[in-house]
Amino acid sequence: MEQEPILSVSNLHTQFHTKSGIVKAVDGVSFDIRPGETLGIVGESGSGKSITAMSIMRLIKDPGKIAKGDIMFKGESLLSKSNREMRAIRGDRISMVFQDPMTSLNPVFTVEKQMVETIRAHRNVSKKQAVDRAVELLDLVGIPSARSRLKSYPHEFSGGMRQRVMIALALSCDPEVLIADEPTTALDVTIQAQILELLQRLQKELGMAIIMITHDLGVVAEVCERVMVMYAGKPVEFAHVHELFDHPKHPYTWGLIGSIPKIVKEKVRLEPIQGLPPDLRALPKGCSFAPRCKHAMDQCLEVDPALLEESDNHHVRCLLYEEKEKVVTS
């Protein structure tokens, strides 16, 4: 029996109204995630993966707005919540870990003050109870001598330790969904390995759903169960992680996989994707990827393909497959 999804995003459109036109940062994203599951969102800079996360948290500020679609959390729409109700959810039921732990912690307050503030904003507890909870959390994320470290300021921690503090802060109210936006991008590989292992262990212990946003296919292969690949604001492929790496279907995914150097004896030349990502203010007609696609056909420049279920639970947005369907049915 499959569990009910805890969070579903349907047909989300987030747009920014700028002087030089409307930027469609997120353009029709749908997915759902179940408790205890890890969903990966991969893409390059500007693909809309972080804006998707910010939209879920309702953190989109002017001139941006959610133009269309819905976000359901445990059967309730987050978009119809008041700001006050949303504040109660943020950091409590759904929380977020950001990429850069230096800019997301306040440098002028001790870690204790920041953690106690978060806990007491959501829980009706005394200051002492909040401090005890903070110690427990720092222990949980593996910070040695937690009680004395509480008095430290963010700059007194190393990058990896700071990211642990961020994770402890995000976990302070046992969230049901944790959004991790490039949580290890700023870290060295040995520290990255520690943090990924920590997140996986905590997920097992606490049973939360994780949305892992990253540009690193290695991280995806390591921790995610299902993966959504985004390009220019749209999901272009969505599949189980094994399926995605064994049978990638979208030419963009092929390009991403071909661009990573593999550590094997016989070196092969990298196969990069030609050209540059499109300007989101002036997306090409038809498929956004067509101008860079080796397999583009004439009609790719005209028709914007829909996200099709190509095989069992493997969705792809590409005319190469629609074409095949047509041949089969006619």
């Binding site: 190393s158 060295d188 590989v189 990255q192 290695g218 990069p272 994707i273 990502p277």
Partner: protein, 329 residues
Amino acid sequence: MTTLLEVNNLKKHFPIKGGGIIPRKVGAVKAVDGVSFKVRKGETLGLVGESGCGKSTTGRSILNLINPSEGEVLYKGQDISKLKGEKLRKLRQDIQIIFQDPYASLNPRMTVEQIIEEPMKAFNIPKKERAEKVEYFLNKVGLSSYHKHRYPHQFSGGQRQRIGIARALTVNPELIICDEPVSALDVSIQAQVVNLMEDLQKEFDLTYIFIAHDLSVVHHISDRVAVMYLGEIVEVGEVDELYSNPKHPYTQALLSAIPEANPHKKKERIMLEGDLPSPSNPPEGCKFHTRCPFAEEQCRVKHPDLKSVAAGDHQAACHLVKEVVEEPV
């Protein structure tokens, strides 16, 4: 193959000054602490390590952009670490550098043409030749000549990095120090720049010192690799030998930590405890012993030197690895 560059016992200690009216030296950050290596003509030497291990400082000390505190840098047999003034300036025609951040390393007020011709101006190349070379190298790095009147902000990160490469090439250098040239780029763009650098190396017979923290990129582009930890080289060897047969526990941990884009493979991981110690107060003995899962008593007291550990000039600095002396042929 001939040795183009030889670095012997290079050290760079940055002084830490105390407060007070007359600040006195109270300590030193040992960013580079006794590094020796050789670079052969036409090869790519990869220099890897985590943040703060001294790889960039090493690169900059070679060019004398940072004055080394000790040690010598022999370029074609001549010690260049103590060169000054005109001689140093002349040398930089032969050795060029490409920087990590394509946003900070190009002057935003200059056009691409001015940026690319600047090194040639410094070496008194006549105007007509400069103009020809700007166009020639713009084309070589995959840009067009109509780009030359534009400003850096009109380009993407990958294109800016191409401009930086074109600038370095204009004075016909032999050795290029590449300081994290692709780290700031998206993977699809990163692959384009890596391919470009490989092509240019073949075409212009260049030698690279490739500094990076991304172990897969370093594996891809390098012939030999040196692994740094806290200002020292802990292991050096031919790329395939080092990656398939790492001897130093730090190299083993580093290699096992790379997330691989293959969901079927669950790697045995060597988890390192704790963080990098401070380079202003490095541990006694082997600098890695505080995090090493195999550390013994002798590691805490005695500092290990690089020694041969396998065939093919594979060296590591670890007490626990047996020395292998190669039979002279």
